[in-house]
Amino acid sequence: MRAAFVALLAVAAGGCQPSPPPPPSQPVPFSHKLHVGQNLIGCGVCHSYTARGPVAGIPTMARCNGCHRFVSADKPNVQKVNAAFEAGKPLEWNRVYVLPDHVYFTHERHIAAGLRCQQCHGPVEEMDVMHQVPPLSMGWCVTCHRQRGASTDCWTCHK
């Protein structure tokens, strides 16, 4: 009965799932495809807080510079990054994955549960331009929580 109703809901609400917004422009055309797909750099290498805290973390300018001091330092975009580090002015990336303020999401719990990054972020290793893949709607979150038997208590995410 319950499953039937949930399924009915999913169908009824299906038409109303928000579509992901177009990707924002970035100060430097950073390619995940190049870094992850071709050079096989793991996600946690740059997003270093993923398994430790709520926030995955944006690589620090020092992290970028750490490699690019030596690698591809002659390319103009890389020079932009290196120059920003040396000038002490971090790049301002435009956020791709935005959750409302009243949602408390933690990367750490999801990684601990054995989810792969791609399950929510899509085939990042194939993306030249990072864009949002899932709708990031509440229904999307809840559907996965239900499927995996995770808590659907409101206070799991809202508090």
Binding site: M1, F5, T152, C154
Partner: protein, 165 residues
């Protein structure tokens, strides 16, 4: 309308009723009336059976009850949240919703059925239009039998402007 019938207008519903009875006696089976209000004398004289649209109406109400319970119980189970220590499926409050939905569905179905049956009746048992029949005249229309005899009978009961239409 294959052949024209006879229409007579009456100022007095009682006379119209008498005319209807006389027409029935004369063997006219298809006597129709058009009137601004449901004058009981005329309705009685026409002698049609009571409308049975109430059966559909009541089944609409029953559907409302069923939907009411299914909806309230279903949505409560779909995402069970405990409030005030009460059971997830709390029937007493759901009765209220089911009742309101039974009235809502009953009344809506009643309206739809009435609209359909009235429109159907209008079409199947059409009466020539005369604006006075919505004002202060009762129109009696004889659609079968001998038109001349019908005209005669209508006139004899005080029918005004008896004409073939």
């Amino acid at each position: 309308m294959s052949e024209p019938g006879v229409l007579g207008l009456f100022a007095d519903p009682a006379q119209a009723a008498a005319a209807v009875r006389a027409l029935h006696e004369r063997g006219h089976r298809d006597v129709r009336a058009v009137m601004p209000a449901p004058f009981s004398v005329v309705v009685e004289a026409l002698g049609y059976p009571r409308s049975r649209i109430d059966r559909i109406t009541l089944s609409g109400a029953a559907t409302g009850v069923a939907i009411g319970f299914a909806f309230t119980i279903g949505t409560s189970i779909a995402w069970p949240l405990v409030t005030g220590g009460k059971p997830i499926v709390s029937i007493p409050p759901f009765v209220i919703v089911a009742f309101e939905l039974s009235v809502l569905f009953g009344a809506t179905v009643n309206l739809l059925v009435m609209a359909i049956t009235a429109a159907r009746g209008r079409r199947l048992r059409a009466v020539p239009f005369d604006a006075r029949c919505s004002d202060d005249r009762v129109g009696i229309y004889v659609a079968d039998g001998d038109p001349a005899g019908a005209e005669e009978t209508l006139r004899s009961f005080g029918g005004e402007e008896v004409r073939r239409a």
